[in-house]
Symmetry: C2
Subunit: 148 residues, 2 copies
């Protein structure tokens, strides 16, 4: 075995004892996470969650159907599932109007909103480096499945 075996390893990584973080905001020795980034990732690491948050952050509350149509390629199952997780994680608020033809809408909680804001730089990065990113994908898809 190369990594730790027990999941309940209480040891914390204690970040690089080298040159102190230049622009890092990474706080060491936290509850169960190696750093804030780790914590954040455990919350949004899912295929559609960042997109959901981001979409919700853009317009007002969205009805379920709108959302599904907006986020292309997402299936009902996935959308519902991730919305539920986001909801139970306190990032999204679900409002059920309890009407006869079901009507439900989703919006961000303050917490969700703050996370969505932290996502903005990533979006900008993607937009700014779109050309490089495209090239990367050309490589990945272009020649064989070797590179990936």
């Amino acid at each position: 075995m190369t990594a730790s075996k027990t999941k309940t390893d209480p040891s914390v990584p204690s970040p690089p004892p080298q040159t102190a973080s230049p622009e890092g905001t990474c706080t060491p020795t936290l509850p169960g996470f190696t750093c804030g980034l780790d914590a954040t990732l455990r919350i949004i690491a899912a295929k559609w969650k960042p997109l959901i948050l981001y979409f919700l952050a853009q317009g007002g509350p969205y009805r379920y159907g709108e959302l599904r149509r907006a986020i292309r390629d997402v299936s009902d199952k996935m959308l519902i599932q991730q919305l539920k997780e986001l909801e139970s994680d306190g990032l999204v608020k679900r409002t059920d109007y309890k009407e006869i033809p079901p009507r439900v809408d989703y919006s961000l909680t303050p917490l969700g909103h703050s996370l969505a804001e932290a996502l903005v730089p990533l979006c900008s990065w993607g937009t700014e480096h779109m050309d490089e990113v495209s090239r990367v994908f050309a490589k990945r898809e272009g020649w064989g499945a070797k590179g990936r």
Copy 2:
């Protein structure tokens, strides 16, 4: 089928025609991505990549072994694999000193560095909302495997 069937669907989502993005930097109708965020995610969406980038951004270049010890719980296989992908994606630079007992180190390329910087807010978010995040995890792990 609920979502599109053909992967090669050339249609682009055309973001919410509603209230224009408040703080969004999401540019619509891009090559193959719904938005910059989408593009970014396709590059770093892997369990250890963000952490790798982040760690590399903190100290100078890291030797392979250092990195593996720093990022707790990562296995050789995963670390190597993701390092390779990051390398071929132009985010990380691998330097092989070709010495007899192998010596290799990894550092960020300018592109990688810029991405790592975009990651900072996520890290801060995690740090700032550590208490909420912890509570979320108490729930997830605490009672039953229903929630997740």
